[in-house]
Symmetry: C2
Subunit: 547 residues, 2 copies
């Protein structure tokens, strides 16, 4: 019996006691705005005496130390993750177990993902469309491995309009079945191929162990579905789309994923081959961040989706499907975040630059706010996403904390002395303290814009470099099962030659908790020997514990 | 017992026998590409003898007459509507009764609607976010009139992960209840207000009588939800958003909606006041195309959503909600379409200009295709949405029909003689035949771009003017119930002073089939007398039959 816990939020997102203990913290941090120092910028400033020492900035530093509210990442990674989600206002818990409300700031990251991928999908010849989310139960049963994979996770509608339905309806966990039902009606001849579509939609999987963004009962995603006349075309498409995801991960999200092929055991329910991008999180667990499946003719045979080829012969179509979901946001948080909170790559940051005007006396306020507003206009007209936080409610220090928590890549401070000198102070989110702070950047539009763009690029590269070196220093090349076990027990990823059986793969999982994340596309040259059996092996596999 | 009809598609979208009879037609027209003449442009052209008479264009005219496949609008409006949806490839029937697959061309219209509204919502201070679609059943029961309005239409999830749930889950029909549940956690003080959000989502209403786009079991929409500190602010917001919808209807969709307030009988379940935009379809039935609700404190009282005001007093928040759905696409089809198919206003057309290259001999092909491709580039770089149909599979005539069916505002034809003279032929979708066709428009980029932009503007205005004069010629001012009955029986809208009771309003509905669509914002001056009771009346009401 699944219990709906309403309105208590305890244990909504995790089964472990360690996490349950964290929930009072998470609940409290919902109100974190009230927990930070509530003195206004102006009144704090008025307390300061010396006009020489940039008093407000000093006060700001004090606030910061008092206001640390996120569990240190090193102390409890999962608690840190939940704290960041709450404090950066990314998401909240829905009333139904395992569901999530995506708050505006979290959703804006999703919109950035959508904006990029939508363009790439269209450039590669796909059209958006929309399929109904209710799928007749009988559809799910048509493809044998598909039903096996998904039936334990289904949410079923059994009542509609007050009456019990004759056939239960599945709330889509994925759309291959209904897509094939429609493709069968639309595809007649080779002239109708390739048929390449995508939909942005919500999907439902009745997961028992949930975690915001990473695994929720309902989530948002895009699912591409394509139909082709030949297996070669389908394979090319599946590879093309995993390449789109890989580029997105590296170039936009600054996540150095490892792209490769899933083992047979880990292949999608109904696919012939699954390609994946695997990302290393800050706790060194792997996150499967996107997949692309070559479905072969599995669904077309189950649904009778055929076309007449150029020789007049009836053939089953060859298909692919591929998806990226709101899980990716979890990947961004867990790749880049630190003890101060979220850290967003500039290319997907909803706000790239936050401007904090700082004033002491009432007669300084106008000048500072005017300068902030003119800097805002300058940056906006250069297509930089900028926000001014000019509220009277909070101290500059509170604001520094808050926008660091939200992961905004650059902060511009403008005080009375900056106004006099026609310059601003700029701080990098990714370089803490004095090292990341530069004084005296000219407000002159061309200089300022060039500087800001340059820094944003630098941060983007720097986040990728940092994540790449973290990843590489945590992957161990192994040549025996003992070495593999040692690496996994240290929390690292193990990479080694593998040609053993599915049973041996499952044994590794049972004994170490690690699974084959993928056979990476990038493979070392030369002869290899299976780490488990000593038999010749064609490829190295990557093993890791995963989300 | 609700019967799932699988995979038979008969009667999926309408209960009436007249429509059922139409379904073989609709089914057939799924394959309409195969029903049009299948001779290629080249081979048709080769059959022609005289090089002097623009032979392909003559052949094209012939094709057109043979290929009429849509039921004439005047003969059977509903059959025409379904034919257009099938032939213009806007939507198809899902496997579950009353569900709809939105095909790429239909979805592209939805994307145009989203693109415009999304900008306006953000400009007016709203953020996008996402709420879970599963709502505990108990939530729906909290607001008395809300449960009364929605409980007959609910789809309920009763099984999750193979187990029966303790509490049934409602698949959202609208989100006021879950929004209030979350607002209660987020809103504490007047500083948290206003809270203004929007979500793009799917919603489910178990409707018995369905019709593609107009009323489907599942549909796509946006739903805005806002919370305010005062009733005045909530009222202002509700009015602001109906104004956004009104402008969208007039300026983008070229639909001259009448904006006004709903009668008490027609107000949204749970609202204090509902504002609406009402559009007159080609059969003169009204379509409610968007609504904005002032919810007062109905939901905040039901859910205990309170804030502390500036004086430290606890108060319930004041709320609004507002929505536009994929129904609007039905409104566009039924406002502008004609016997040749869809007719799209340029501002929301996925393709504004289609280019048809026409060649006779193989040696002409290259020149014509090159010209088509250079014209395409010229228009694209001027941000005009353009498509070249250069397939060898179809005759120019077939293509003319096909793109007229799809409602593309402008067609550019380029033949060998056009290439020689450096000019093109341009035809307007909204002006049939020779009258809408202009020869010899120069290919010189600045001239061509200016001409095309000018014509697109002209078409945009012309569609609005035409719809406005159609609307105005079908609204009758009435001063007695007899006059009202007469107007309604002629299929027109009746406008007359009204201050009678809810019971009288329901009597009108029972006796004439018409309902009060709204009390229009635009009201005549002077003293008025209720058409039903003879009592003084403050306002005129608009009566019509509706979808």
């Amino acid at each position: 019996m699944v219990v709906l816990r309403l309105p208590s939020l305890s244990s909504l997102f995790s089964p472990s006691a360690a996490i349950s203990r964290r929930f009072p913290e998470v609940l409290r941090s919902r109100h974190h705005v009230r927990r930070f120092s509530g003195v206004s910028a102006q009144s704090t400033a008025e307390k300061e005496a010396s006009p020489e020492t940039e008093p407000v900035r000093v006060a700001a530093q004090k606030d910061r130390i008092e206001d640390q509210s996120v569990t240190p990442r090193s102390q409890d990674f999962n608690a840190w993750y939940l704290d960041v989600i709450a404090n950066a206002e990314l998401a909240d818990y829905g009333p139904v177990r395992g569901t999530m409300v995506i708050r505006p700031y979290g959703y804006a990251i999703w919109e950035a993902i959508q904006d990029y991928l939508n363009v790439k999908f269209k450039e590669t010849g796909h059209s958006n469309m929309y399929f109904p989310q209710f799928i007749p139960y009988s559809f799910i049963e048509k493809e044998a491995s598909h039903v096996e994979g998904f039936s334990p996770e289904l949410a079923l509608v059994t009542i509609g309009g007050g009456k019990e339905l004759e056939e239960k309806l599945v709330v889509r966990p994925t759309s291959e079945t209904i897509v094939n039902h429609m493709f069968t009606q639309w595809i007649h001849s080779y002239r109708d191929l390739p048929l390449m579509i995508n939909q942005w939609a919500n999907v439902t999987r009745w997961e028992m162990r949930t975690k915001p963004f990473v695994r929720t009962l309902e989530f948002l995603w895009q699912e591409g579905h394509t139909a082709h006349a030949t297996p070669e075309e389908a394979e090319k498409e599946a590879l093309q789309m995993i390449d789109v995801y890989t580029k997105f991960a590296y170039e936009q999200a600054a996540i150095p994923v490892i792209t490769g092929r899933k083992s047979k055991v880990e292949t999608f329910a109904g696919a012939v081959r699954t390609y994946t991008i695997e990302a290393m999180m800050g706790d060194r667990k792997a996150l499967q961040a996107g997949t692309s499946h070559n479905l072969g003719q599995n669904f077309s045979r189950a649904f009778g989706t055929q076309f007449t080829d150029e020789n007049g012969q009836r053939q089953h179509i060859w298909q692919t499907s591929w998806a990226v979901s709101t899980r990716f946001i979890g990947g961004i948080i867990m790749t880049h975040g630190d003890d101060a909170g979220l850290m967003l790559p500039p290319k997907i940051a909803p706000i790239q630059v936050v401007i904090i005007p700082i004033w002491k006396k009432a007669d300084e306020k106008t000048g500072v706010l005017n300068a902030a507003s003119s800097v805002t206009e300058v940056l906006k007209s250069a297509n930089i996403k900028v926000k001014v936080d000019d509220s009277d409610q909070r101290t500059p220090g509170w604001k520094f904390n808050f926008w660091e928590m939200k992961g905004v890549p650059l902060r511009i401070e403008i005080g009375p002395r900056d106004v006099s000198s026609g310059s601003v102070v700029i701080s990098r989110r990714d370089v803490p303290g004095k090292q990341g702070k530069v004084f005296g950047i000219s407000m002159e539009p061309s200089i300022l814009v060039a500087y800001v763009k340059d820094k944003l690029d630098e941060i983007q590269s720097s986040l990728l470099e940092r994540a790449t070196s973290y990843r590489d220093s945590n992957i161990v090349d192994v040549s025996s099962y003992d070495e593999l076990k040692e690496a996994i027990s240290q929390g690292k990823w193990a990479r080694g030659p593998w040609s053993a059986s599915d049973a041996e793969e499952l044994r590794v999982k049972e004994e170490t908790g690690a699974t084959i994340r993928c056979f990476p596309f990038e493979q070392p040259q030369g002869m290899k020997t299976c780490l488990m059996t000593g038999d010749p092996a064609e490829e190295v596999a990557l093993f890791a514990k995963s989300y």
